[in-house]
């Protein structure tokens, strides 16, 4: 009897595991193996080099710089992007007019293709002909105008802001869903008890929203660390190495220098780092719950 139940249970996960095993694990094993070889992606012969790819990664300053920069963008996403999403979701949660309109509008950025987003924002941010500088000058802030995407001081932050703009729609949606499931009665009860707006926010909203916040945080970290298409179309990783991110470095190894083995080693390293970050977050989360 027990065997039958267990087999039945396995049936539930069987399709997922099958597809996963064939289309993820098998290629992954191949990638994992390649990390220990030197290969240009074309020749039939691969040279075994052991750990030397990994040793090179540790010494590769540009790799660590790209990792740091990707972390910076993620930090901005975790704070600015999610705060914006939360604020907007909270605003839409109240009984205000046009909230259906806003719900649709705020999801347009995630839906647009990266091509359009890259083009439009390049155009807006252009140092000479861009609208942003045009309006800054118009309102008298001429000293604030700069070449947003080519100035080494602003390039990374600018790219991060555009990325936030494109991504906040998802957080907005999830936060809104979370907020809408808080029973109105709880707010009523709090008001009857004499709580003002801030108190009810602190004691009702925040505790019930923590699981959503955690979920959005995890997805934000994983998603933002792996970003690259938008950056590639807007700055190509430049100026210099100022907007390089790990995935762009992996692609550069693959296509630029035809160093497939090294690219695979970079991929593995990156994955391990992301796992460590997620694990750390999981531990923090567990501790907070306790």
């Amino acid at each position: 009897m027990k065997l039958k139940t267990t087999l039945e249970n396995y049936l539930f996960v069987f399709p997922a595991v099958l597809i996963f095993a064939v289309f993820y694990i098998i290629p992954f094993i191949s990638v994992f193996q390649l990390a220990f070889f030197d290969w240009d992606g074309i020749l039939p012969t691969k040279i075994f080099v052991g750990l030397s790819n990994f040793k090179e990664i540790i010494a590769d300053k540009i790799w660590w710089q790209s990792l740091w920069q990707s972390g910076y963008i993620t930090l901005i996403a975790l704070t600015f992007q999610n705060a914006l999403a939360f604020l907007l979701a909270w605003a839409c949660d109240r009984e205000i007019r046009m909230k259906n309109f806003y719900r649709v509008i705020f999801f347009i950025p995630p839906v647009l293709s990266e091509v359009v987003v890259g083009l439009v924002w390049q155009w807006i941010l252009n140092g000479n002909y861009g609208i942003l500088n045009h309006w800054l000058t118009h309102f008298g802030f001429t000293n604030l105008t700069r070449n947003w995407l080519s100035d080494p001081n602003t390039a990374l932050t600018t790219v991060a802001v555009v990325h936030c703009w494109k991504g906040f729609g998802w957080g907005f949606l999830l936060f809104l869903a979370g907020l809408q499931t808080i029973p109105r009665e709880l707010y009523e009860a709090a008001r009857v008890d004499g709580a003002n707006a801030w108190n009810s926010f602190k004691n009702v909203t925040i505790p019930l929203m923590i699981p959503v916040v955690v979920l959005v945080a995890i997805l934000t970290i994983l998603g933002t660390m792996q970003v690259f298409v938008l950056i590639y179309t807007m700055t190509g990783g430049g100026p210099g190495y100022h907007t390089e991110v790990p995935v762009l470095r992996i692609l550069a190894s693959m296509r630029g220098s035809s160093r497939f083995g090294y690219a695979c080693a970079q991929g593995i390293t990156f994955g391990v780092i992301l796992c460590m970050i997620s694990f750390a977050q999981y531990l923090v989360n567990k501790k907070a719950k306790a």
Binding site: V22, I26, Y102, F106, I108, V116, W121, G178, C264
Partner: protein, 282 residues
């Protein structure tokens, strides 16, 4: 005690500020879409000279030309097919798995779940070639089913993660009631879990539909024959090696973005509904 007028004006002024804030954000969200549409109605020569949002001459024929030249009819249907099948496939496969991870017991459950989660963290850019060789060996290269299976795999981990998080928070009473009524495990999954999960399922639908609809590089690698290509590949014909035909490209992109917006409009009602029917989380 402050007067009601104070509270009323305070409430109105707060509302005004909130509206202003939201409108500003909304404008920045709308702007690229409007720019895209307005550019699609200009010509190659005026597109970077004419800065107006509504061009004097509206070249609607760009849409017709983009459709014909891009061969959109065929590619549009292909994209629709791939997206639909992949989304349905993911919904079924990942909800089954997520339900099992959440509610059922079997040896190795945690390890298998952990593998799925780990897969979300390890980007395998380099795996494209390995995937290609694998599909070749399985004789699935250059076939719709090969591409569909690959794309199902791409969305599996995140979908399972989202669904499991939801199933964990689901009240057990409904399931217990169904079990007492003699429902099998599959029956509970189908009749109880899935309907309750409509909001999060809607998120999964939109997420995966967006991924498949906008996907391009894997399709280019896996498919050799043009008739099997999805829409995004067709859009590349306007982004020439040297000459990008911007108005046609913008028209094509506008056409491409409409179905996704339509799908979102349909699904977002479910995502936000959940007041009485449970929620995504929380």
């Amino acid at each position: 005690m402050r007067s009601t007028l104070y509270y009323k004006t305070k409430k109105t002024s707060v509302n005004v500020i909130i509206h202003l804030f939201m409108l500003t954000v909304a404008v920045t969200c709308l702007f690229p879409l409007l720019w895209m549409i307005s550019s699609s109605l200009k010509t190659q020569e005026t597109i970077f000279k004419d800065m107006s949002l509504i061009p004097k001459v509206l070249h609607f024929e760009n849409y017709y030309q983009a459709w014909i030249e891009g061969g959109f009819g065929r590619y549009f249907l292909n994209s629709l097919l791939y997206t639909t099948v992949v989304v349905i496939g993911i919904i079924i496969i990942s909800s089954l798995a997520a339900y099992a991870f959440s509610r059922l017991k079997f040896p190795g459950k945690n390890i298998i779940f952990f593998m799925f989660i780990a897969a979300m963290m390890i980007p395998i850019q380099g795996s494209f070639v390995a995937l290609y060789v694998l599909l070749n060996k399985l004789h699935l290269r250059n076939t719709p089913i090969g591409y569909i299976l690959c794309m199902i795999n791409v969305g599996l981990s995140t979908s399972i993660f989202l669904l499991k998080t939801f199933f964990d928070k689901m009240p057990k009473e409904l399931e217990d009631a169904a079990r007492i009524d003699g429902c099998s495990k599959f029956g509970i999954w189908w009749h109880v879990a899935l309907p309750l999960a409509k909001p999060v399922l809607a998120v999964v639908v939109v997420l995966n539909a967006l991924n498949v609809w906008n996907e391009f590089i894997l399709a280019l690698l896996i498919f050799d024959s043009r008739p099997l290509m999805p829409l995004q590949v067709a859009l590349m014909t306007f982004q020439g090696e040297f000459v990008t035909r911007y108005p046609l490209l913008m028209a094509g992109l506008t056409i491409a973005v409409l179905p996704i917006i339509g799908l979102y409009l349909l699904m977002q009602k479910y995502i936000v509904k959940g007041v009485t029917q449970g929620a995504v989380v929380g």
